[in-house]
Amino acid sequence: MSKRVVVTGIGALTPIGNDVSSFMEGLKQGVSGAARITRFDATGFRTDFACEVKNFNAEDFLDRKEVRRIDPFAQYAMVVADQAIHDCGINLDTVDKSRVGVIWGSGIGGFTTFEEEIEAAGRAVGVPKYNPFLIPKLIVNIAAGHISIKYGFSGVNFAPVSACASANHAVILAADNIRLGRVDMVVCGGSEAAVTRAGIGGFSSMKALSTRNDDPQTASRPFDKNRDGFVLGEGAGALILESYESAKARGAKIYAELLGTGMNADAYHITAPEPTGKGVIQCMQFAMKEAGLNTGQIQYINVHGTSTPLGDVAETNAIQSVFGDDAYGLNISSTKSMTGHLLGAAGAIEAIASILALNHGFIPPTINHFEDDPEIDAKLNFTFNEAQQRDVKAVMSNGFGFGGHNTSLIFGRV
């Protein structure tokens, strides 16, 4: 790698906290963000709960006209981007904005807008008239557009889309653009707002969601014997990636260095994990090789671990293939047990959880463990139910998306 890339700012809006410090508190306490859906009347849906962002009022951050013209997924993006930009301490009056990019992922984009407008069109008599904001509110790349417009950042700007790997791809591509010298700094991350009728209904039809309607708070239980699907989450995470030279030159605080990245494809099935795990294994190995680390030098893996019956076993097997006996020395945890699955934003908030683990010496727990799954090696440390203290020097964060997209990030202390 030609240039070192570091993280100098973070921002989070999650089902367990609306900024980084409350998110961290939620991770330490093992809080569940799940509850009955409030975004719409979910009565009669096979799943009627989700991990929603709470107490969020867009007008606290955006003017009334912006709120109307911007879908919630992009509103979330603007809120966390603002947190991260302020956190990184750049002077917006003097920074060379042509050297700042924005790479922002989302799995689906403006789902609320899509649903409202298409349903309205379906009710129309004759040729429907479509709202002129339908397209610019819906398209996934508009979040990156809005962030650039608000701050004037005119460097590289686009949206990677790879379902639940989108935000990880955003981080990787941000790092690549910095390494290639195209920009010094990138606002990157992902956001998702898919707790809608079609979002819940669509994932339900795939039998991907937990149906534990009588106990939403324990529904997301990765690696537990009785896990029955993921819990849909929403929110956003932002990271400021910056070249080490740029960060040093301006005396910025540095949270972590992005040591290695991996990305590839299963090339197998649109939604099912490849049974031998070879794609995921190779993806983790790519990241290890790029980082120049051996398996004994990683202390924590923040897994994709969505709480689906097949996915959790496949990822565990892949970790054991890559790490061998060193797997028993790892802390492994799925923060989705607390936040639910934020789809295209998952990679961003999990990268932030990983960076907080590096900086604060704790491993966020996998909550809701009740019964071991005989298919999963009980000697592994999944950090069940309570956070653990540990000095973490390097952490891996995995993200996999429908379509067979695999991504791994490795962060280390500087």
Partner: protein, 79 residues
């Protein structure tokens, strides 16, 4: 002020996020009230919905101020 004028102004305040005091008869949507081309299309659609009429494109192009809108809608709705 007519009922139609009241309803038109309410839509403009709501859609453009401006203060009611700015919505004068002479105010231009684009020059004075901060509307872009997408806002003006949406405003016309809102007028159509509110008054249950259809505004042809060639008429819509002539509606550039608050006064134009009120005048046009009064001629169509009372007719």
């Amino acid at each position: 002020m007519s009922d139609i004028a009241e309803r038109v102004k309410k839509i403009i305040v709501d859609k453009l996020g401006v203060d009611e005091s700015e919505v004068t008869s002479e105010a231009s949507f684009t020059n004075d009230l901060g509307a872009d081309s997408l806002d003006t299309v949406e405003l016309i659609m809102e007028f159509e919905k509110e008054f249950d009429i259809s505004i042809p494109d060639e008429q819509a192009e002539n509606i550039q101020t608050v006064g134009h809108a009120i005048e046009y809608l009064e001629s169509q709705v009372s007719a």
